[in-house]
């Protein structure tokens, strides 16, 4: 731990002249300090190396991957990417997922914001019960519901359809969305709302034209949260969209590719597919990492 590093650090502080604009970097403190800094870098490497290594492997032939895991590819083997895109159908899975998410995220945000707004700003009998009903849903282990859910969708002929998946995504994203947005709507100032009412705005106009725009920061954070969560969803499509492999979501498609790789032995294509699935997430992460970090940790910080 960082224990015992302070005396040395203090020593350097006292020794430091009051104002030195550009100080040359110098060793900070003692062995323990070096150790804890080393550990920080070690962890960073532990994140970077496996990811970079898979990217590198995706340019190797399958034989090179097995025989020389640590070496560089002899020549970039683009055929892996062609295989992953055409035989592996990664492009198709992307489109499928995007298609579902357009509706499921929009639906989640709309329904979530509506419920949260009413729960946060209106008093009526049953308000608390509904709120806690939603909040409790964050804790339920989803396995327990999988089979009854499968039967429910089967009964209304929505099994193996995108419509079915969309409404299930919405329903399972509501607990956190409502929980978070309720807290957010409560923090919004009442003055603006009252002024709008004086001006004659009805309940609906107040919500859509005044409250929603004011809640934008919260809505953005929770939208990011839901996009990432639903994009990465694995269990629900596995159970509810199992019939036609062509229709799979991206995570499911990758898992199928991994399974097939097991007996076809084309690990090059598998890694290329994995990298392809990682690229858009990586780009979005680099561009929006501040918002993403805020969005994903938002609920916990409240």
């Amino acid at each position: 731990m960082a224990t015992d590093t302070a005396p040395a650090a203090e020593g350097t502080a006292e020794a430091a002249p009051a104002r030195t604009p550009q100080r040359a970097p110098r060793p900070e403190g003692n062995v323990l300090n070096v150790f804890s800094h080393g550990f920080l870098w070690l962890w960073a490497l532990m994140v970077i190396i496996p990811v970079a290594w898979i990217v590198m492997s995706s340019f190797k032939t399958t034989r090179e991957i097995a025989s020389d895991p640590l070496g560089l590819p002899s020549a970039p083997h683009w055929a892996n990417y062609v295989n992953a895109w055409t035989n592996g159908n990664i492009g198709g899975y992307f489109l499928n997922t995007a298609q579902v998410l357009v509706f499921s995220v929009t639906g989640t945000m709309l329904l979530g914001a509506m419920a949260a707004y009413v729960l946060a700003r209106y008093e009526f009998p049953g308000n608390r019960v509904i709120y806690f009903g939603f909040a409790a849903g964050m804790m339920f282990p989803v396995f327990l519901a999988l089979f009854p859910l499968f039967k429910t969708l089967q009964n209304v002929a929505l099994l193996n359809t995108y419509t079915g998946l969309v409404i299930v995504y919405i329903a399972y994203s509501l607990p956190f969305t409502v929980f978070f947005l309720t807290a957010f709507f409560r923090t919004l100032p009442t003055g603006v709302a009252e002024a709008a009412v004086v001006d004659g705005a009805g309940h609906y106009r107040l919500f859509f034209q005044v409250m929603l725009p004011m809640a934008k920061p919260g809505l953005v954070a929770i939208t990011i949260f839901n996009v990432i969560g639903q994009w990465n969803q694995f269990l629900l499509p596995l159970v509810l969209l199992g019939r036609n492999p062509e229709d799979a979501m991206i995570s499911q498609g990758l898992a199928n590719l991994a399974l097939r790789q097991g007996y076809e032995g084309d690990s090059g294509a598998l890694f290329a597919g994995t990298v392809l699935a990682m690229v858009p997430i990586f780009i979005a992460y680099v561009l929006f990492q501040r918002q993403i970090q805020a969005g994903l940790t938002a609920g916990a910080i409240k």
């Binding site: 731990m1 960082a2 590093t5 302070a6 650090a9 203090e10 502080a13 430091a16 009051a18 800094h37 920080l40 962890w43 960073a44 994140v47 496996p50 290594w53 898979i54 991957i65 895991p69 640590l70 979530g112 509506m114 009413v118 009526f124 509904i130 939603f134 849903g137 804790m139 989803v142 396995f143 327990l144 999988l146 089979f147 009854p148 429910t152 299930v168 329903a171 399972y172 509501l174 309940h203 609906y204 994009w231 990465n232 694995f234 269990l235 159970v239 991206i250 995570s251 990758l254 898992a255 991994a258 690990s267 890694f271 994995t274 990682m278 992460y285 994903l296 940790t297 916990a300 910080i301």
Partner: protein, 307 residues
């Protein structure tokens, strides 16, 4: 404005509450009901058999008992290791740097570390599973760790880490920690940022070391966040399954060495056609999650400190 309040409330709540009740609450309620029957899941006939499924759970030494043991291990190790690492890294990034004119700084490159550490959090479990399966692979399949061990002349498990009963569970827990640490680093970091700097600066003047600062100032003031993290990670631990499904042989093997409760529910429900038995195990998991949350909220309360 009073006019039309209830029609408005109703029109806004009907759809979300209806959908939630139909697709979330109802299936969970049905699972409780199913757990008291002998339903296989495919036929239309079943009888109520009381709590027999629950009694039989604890006699299943092939899958259920190992799964309960492994989930128990994950439940202890995952939150503990992740929180310790998360707190350590957050403290280093915020206050691990040098003291300059009585002001404490974070380490250099703190922003870079945060961005890197957090990245696994946005990757899907499918990607993480494929990535780490290859990292742990046997040497003749091009595994990273086995290859590196052999390259420096150390012994490596012949069949890789995941096909070895001694290493498989620890390997999976390692990946869980790997992907969770970044989240808790950012989480604790923003909690630490709200602690006033003068507290630390006063401590520096009083001659406190980094260790004293951490244990006397940071940790007590972060107690609520640690507690929240503990609940979150416990729920993650109870729900571990997809990674095992993606990475391990026989989806819980070898030899049931990485069976977890979620995976056993999956196997009984979708492979063995014993829906009622699977539901009973799911109900046990449900109450485990519930009591964890209640216990940590009930006994974890400390005095609130305002600043």
């Amino acid at each position: 404005m009073k006019h039309g309040k209830y029609p408005f409330i109703l029109s806004f709540l009907a759809l979300p509450v209806g959908l939630y009740a139909w697709l979330v609450i109802l299936p969970f309620a049905q699972a409780f009901q199913i757990s008291l029957t002998d339903w296989s899941g495919s036929s239309n006939s079943f009888d109520y058999i009381g709590f027999d499924n629950y009694a039989n759970l604890f006699k299943d030494e092939r899958l259920v008992l190992p799964a309960l043991r492994h989930t128990g291990i994950i439940l202890v190790v995952l939150p503990l290791v992740t929180i310790v690492l998360g707190l350590f890294f957050a403290f280093m990034l915020n206050l691990g740097g040098r003291v300059r004119q009585g002001r404490i700084e974070g380490v250099r490159g703190a922003r870079f570390h945060k961005v890197v550490y957090f990245f696994p959090q946005v990757l899907s479990v499918a990607i993480i599973g494929i990535l780490w399966k290859q990292v742990y692979a046997p040497e003749n399949f091009g595994g990273l760790i086995t290859g590196a061990l052999t390259a420096v002349g150390l012994p490596a498990p012949v069949n890789g880490f995941l096909a070895d009963t001694r290493f498989v569970l620890a390997s999976v827990i390692g990946v869980l920690v790997w992907s969770a640490v970044g989240f808790y680093l950012v989480f604790f970091s923003s909690a630490m940022a709200s602690i006033p700097r003068d507290l630390y600066e006063a401590a520096v003047i009083d001659g406190a070391g980094r260790g004293a600062m951490f244990f006397r100032i940071t940790l007590p003031l972060l107690w609520d966040s640690v507690q929240t993290a503990w609940i979150y990670l416990s729920i993650v631990a109870l729900d571990v399954f997809v990674l095992i499904y993606m990475m391990t042989p026989e989806r819980g093997g070898p030899n049931a060495a990485s069976e977890v409760v979620g995976g056993v529910i999956w196997k009984y429900a979708f492979n063995h056609g014993e829906q009622a038995f699977a539901s009973a195990l799911g109900v046990v998991l449900f109450f485990a999650a519930l009591s964890l949350a209640v216990v940590s909220l009930r006994f974890g309360r400390r005095e609130q400190i305002e600043f």
